[in-house]
Structures are given as structure tokens and as C-alpha cells.
């Protein structure tokens, strides 16, 4: 395993543990995080396993133009009040859901 992916894995572990302890990303993190509007959840199959992804209109994403309709990488944690979600790659701040 490369050094970088190892660091990312540790970061994920730390984040999930924080969420389990009832913490949420700080307001500053939420400000900086990519934002997803008009999102819907979608369950995808990966071989035998399943993952959930979110599809929606993105803004503030480091690699994608604002307004692009994207689907995220696999969601690891979706906040029960739908304020944010943690995917394999990053934290998304969630705007209004579609429907």
C-alpha cells in the first residue's frame, strides 16, 4: 500500500470514529467542502457487494466545474439529518435533496 493511500485510510478511520462519537465536520470544513445540490441516493452493485453513491449538482469541487452533474465515489457515512456525507475521497456538504 502506498504512503498516500495509507494516509487517506487513516484519515477515513479517524473521520468515521468522530462521526460515531457524534461529531460533525466543523463549520469551516463545511464551508470548504464540495457542495451537492438536488441530490439523490443510488445503490450500485460492485460484483457481489453493494455501495451507495450520491448523484447531484456539484459546486466548490476541486476538480469539477460548478454546476456539473456528478455521481460521487462510494459513500461511507451519510449523516442521518442529511447535512453532510463522507465518501471514500472527501466530505460533501449536502444542499437540498431532489424530490
Amino acid at each position: 500500500m502506498t504512503k498516500k493511500s495509507n494516509a487517506a485510510r487513516l484519515k477515513i478511520e479517524k473521520d468515521i470514529e468522530a462521526y460515531l462519537s457524534g461529531e460533525v465536520p466543523s463549520p469551516l470544513d463545511m464551508q470548504r467542502a464540495a457542495k451537492l445540490d438536488n441530490w439523490v441516493t443510488s445503490v450500485r452493485r460492485r460484483g457481489k457487494e453493494f455501495v451507495m453513491v450520491l448523484c447531484g449538482d456539484v459546486s466548490r469541487h476541486p476538480q469539477i466545474e460548478d454546476g456539473g452533474n456528478i455521481h460521487t465515489s462510494a459513500v461511507l457515512w451519510l449523516d442521518r439529518h442529511a447535512r453532510f456525507c463522507r465518501t471514500v475521497r472527501r466530505v460533501y456538504a449536502l444542499g437540498s435533496a431532489s424530490r
Partner: protein, 617 residues
Amino acid sequence: MSDVDARILWLAGVICIPTWRAAFRAASDRTLRLAGFDAFVELQAAGTIHIGEQSRIVFGFADRANDPILRAAWQMLALHPDDGMGIHAVVAGVNGLLCSADGDTSGARARLRIWDDVARGKYTGGDFFELAELYWRGEMHHMVAAEEDETRASSGIPACVAMLEHNRWDAALAWLIGETDRQVAGLGIKTPNMRERDRETLAATISEFADLLFAQGRPWTGELALAWQMLTCDPKRPPSFTAVLPQLQYALDHSDVRDEEACNLRERIRIWWRAAEGEWTDSVVSVFRIADVETQRDPDVDDPDLQPTPPPRWTSIGVIMSVDQALAPEIDGPTLVVMPGRKATKLNNFQAAYKDLVDAALPLVVARDVAGIRAAMHLEFPHAVTAIDLLLRDLRDGQPAVFKPVILVGSPGAGKSRVVRRMADLTRVVVYRFDASSSTDGHFGGTSKGWGNTEPSVPMRAVAQSRTANPVVLVDEIEKSAGGGASGSLWSSLLAFLDRETAGRYRDQSLDAEVNLSAVSYVATANDVTRLPAPLRDRCRIIKVPDPGLQHLPQLAAQVMRDLAIEDEARSGDVPLAGDELAVIGKAWAKAGFSMRKLQKIVTATLDARDNYAQRH
């Protein structure tokens, strides 16, 4: 032990001295040796009784001591009860030192908590050492409890993952209420009343309670909260899964589940995902039930003729009954026919004892009050809390007590066999002990009917002796079994019994009958599993029973006293062990290597000594 550790342990010793004067003397002696001045003489020469002045002089000694640990001792001696900030600062520093040392400093740390309480004004008095001597035992109990909390939190399977195993919504709820009560007992949280039948209110109650659990700020309460949220997942409303499944999958992927169980759990969570996709929106049953039904089905077999016979289910009386059965006293609860007559041949004279087992519906011992059993065993084996949790994981209230094969590993005297026996006592299943160290062949699986002194397999003998369908076969010291030559070995003949499906249709070569031993449980003990063949290790859950430590002494010693009282009535009036007695026992026990058997002997010896020196009138 390193030099630094030895010095820190000296400091811990000083803290445990019961008066300031004696502690001062001890520090002074050491100062004379290390720093070359006699503090005792100097203080007497100063001739002062004014407490502020005295404290200033003592603090001067701290400045002159080069050794940081000696300095800490002088700082403690110089402390004044009114100097709250000073006490906190010194105590925090010393606490750090004590925690870093390699050795038991818990007594000293418990005493330091009293020092802190003095700073907070909980206790009043001038002599910290005397106050600590009076009150430290209560703090010790708190510390032991807190350590248990830690081991609890880091051990076992997260509650949310364990929830996947349940086959019904209400069974899951009942288990979760018990589990939550047990885990959060120390936090002062109460599980909500789940009597309301209305789905909406129930969901609201659960969501509120999940918020409360998340608010506790610990990862394991978060796992419990997730488990509660799982109860709100409804296959009719797929969106109800979205805020649960991703984190549940993550928890499963990162939890410490053994392979074969992980397989089963993964299969179940896939059903949950399919429910989240909306596969069962017209279902009237819960996702727990769906997962149960779906995982029973084998999708690879299409031809009905090739379908394997379904795994044995708990049969109830009343399908086909012989006259004998109809006349037999009615048994409440589930039963299992271990020896169906149509699959048995005529028994010979050596097997008379097994004749009345043919077609007999034997009762299955049902587990009751699992939470209570767990609590009782935690109390009795404070050092093996994790092991007990793992061992009792398979028990469900109201279902037959059947365990997956388990090997308990631990050093001699850690209490392995005793754990099994106590568990059997509490669940009321019968234990059949088999000593592996005297087994050199495959006798475990029974001997052929052709031999004169033919004998059925050990599990069958256990069934016959217990007259229940689910006894526990305890294979003691499994790694000490010899053999493996032409006459087979215990290990290889044991394998056939460990797979539940094979055991459900085992052909006993002595009885020449196909018997259903699927409900028999196997628990083995071992000092070391590295010698065991891999197939055996793979089929068993290996649970480590750790050695007890000094911190468990008060509880364990009390338990030994209770046992002695049961054995010997003269002992039932004994006064509980006092602190100094415990200290002596602890020392002797540490020397003897923390074995439960040794502890029993030491406690007995202490009580005998106490009797001998008792005043007689």
C-alpha cells in the same frame, strides 16, 4: 525492571504511606542517601511548628534534590490543603510518572484521586496521607470499573454488526434493549419505552434515542445508535436505509469478525442492500425476516432432486408419535429427535442404554435471561469479560442454547474450564467432559459395532447421559492429545462433529444409526493452539482467556470466599478480607503467577491463618 521504574515504584510506595510523618521520614532517608543532607535533622533544627513556615522549608528540600522523582516526593510533602492549584499541578505531574512506570501503581493512583478531591474541597483535613488512607478504596473500585469500561469499549463485535444476525425484528429489539442496558449502565441513560405499537411514534422515539446515544461522544455509543437506527429500516420505504447502510457496511468491513461468520453477515447485509434498492417494497415483514429467509435459500441448485435436505430445524412433538412418546410426560418447549428409528438398525445387548432414545423427542435446553447470565459471569470473571461476551454471543433468549465450536486459549489456571462449567450451570445445559490428554486415538468418534465392547461416540454418550439434545462437550486440554497413527486421532474424528450440517446426519458406527447431533455444542480448552491442525482451528472460534491481574484481586478473592462458604458451612460467617489482607494476598499471588488455582489456595491459607490467630475466649 529498569532503574527509573524502580524509582517511580518507590514514589508510589511513599504515596501509600498512611501518615505525613512516616512519609516525611521515608523521603528524608532517601535524601540522605542520594543528596547527602538529612532533612529530618534540618527541620528539627529549624524548630518551627508554624505550618506555613514548615511547608516553605520542605519545599526548599525539593529545590535541593537533583533527582526529579525525589523532588516530586518533596513537592507532595510540602503541599498545603488550601493551595488548590498547587495540588492539582503536583498531582498531575506525579500521576503522569506513575502511569508511565512498568508495574502496579494503581493503589497510589487511587490515593492521588483523594488528594485531588481535597483540592476541590470534598474532604477537609491537614494530612493528605491520612485522608487518602481512609478513603482510597472507594476510588480503587471506580478505577477498576473504568478500566472495565475501556476493555468493554474496545472489545468484540460492534452492536450494529451483531444486529445483522437476528432473524426477527422483535428479537433484534429485545436483544438490543438488553445490550444497550448493559453497555450504557454507567452513563445514566435509560432505554426508551418501546411499548407503543404505532410505527411513526416508534420511529420518532428511536431517532430521538439515537441522537442521545450519539451525544455521548464515544464511538461505541455511536455503534449502539446505529444499531437502533437499523430498527427503523423498512423495506416498504427504501430511503429509510440510506442513512444507515453506508456506515453499517463500513462497520462490518472494519470489524473484527471471524471469517466464516463474516461470510454469513456479508450475505445478510447484501439482502439489506437489495431492500434499499427497493426489491421488497410490497413486503409485510421486516428486513430481518427477509434476510433470514433469503440466506437460507441456496441459489446454485435448481434441480429439486438435487436439493440438499434442509438443515435440521427444531421439530416439535406431534408430527409422528409412537405410543411410548404419546405416553411420555409432555415436554414444554422445543425438542429434537436425536435418534430417528427409521434410520437405525437393531441395537445389540451392549447398547441397551440407548434403546429408549430411539424416536424419543429429547428436550432442547432453552437459554433464558442471557443478559443476567452475562452480568453474573462478568462479576465472577472480571478478567475475562471479553472472552465471556464472545462465548455468550450465540445465545438468544428463548432459543435453544447452542454454541458454535469454541477453543478457549489461556495459560494454566486462567479459569478456562471453570468459565465453561459456570456458563453451563447458569444456562442449565449439561456439560460432558472429555479429557483429551489421555486420548491417543479416534475413540472420540465411537468404536465399530463389530467389537465386543463397542462404544458410541462421545457426543452421543453426552446426549444419552444428559437426556437432552443439546449438551456441551467440553474437550479439556485439546492440544495435549497424542496420536495420529493408524488408529486415528482425536483431532480428525472431532472435525466431523464441528460442522453442523454433517453432525445433523452423523452415522454412529457403534449404534449403526444415523443420529442428529446438530444441537450438541463443543467447547475445547487449550494452553496453546499452534500445535493444532489448521482445519480444526478454522472450524472453531478461538477465544483468548487472559490472565487475571492485581486489579481484579478484590473481586476474585471475594468470589473465592463465596465458593469456600458454599463448600464449607463453617466458612459462611467469615468477615470479608480487609485491605491489608488483600495486600498480602496480592503479593503472594503475584509471586505465584496469577493463577486462579493458586489464588484459591492463598485465600484458604489466609483464612486459616486468621482462624489460628483469632482471639479465643
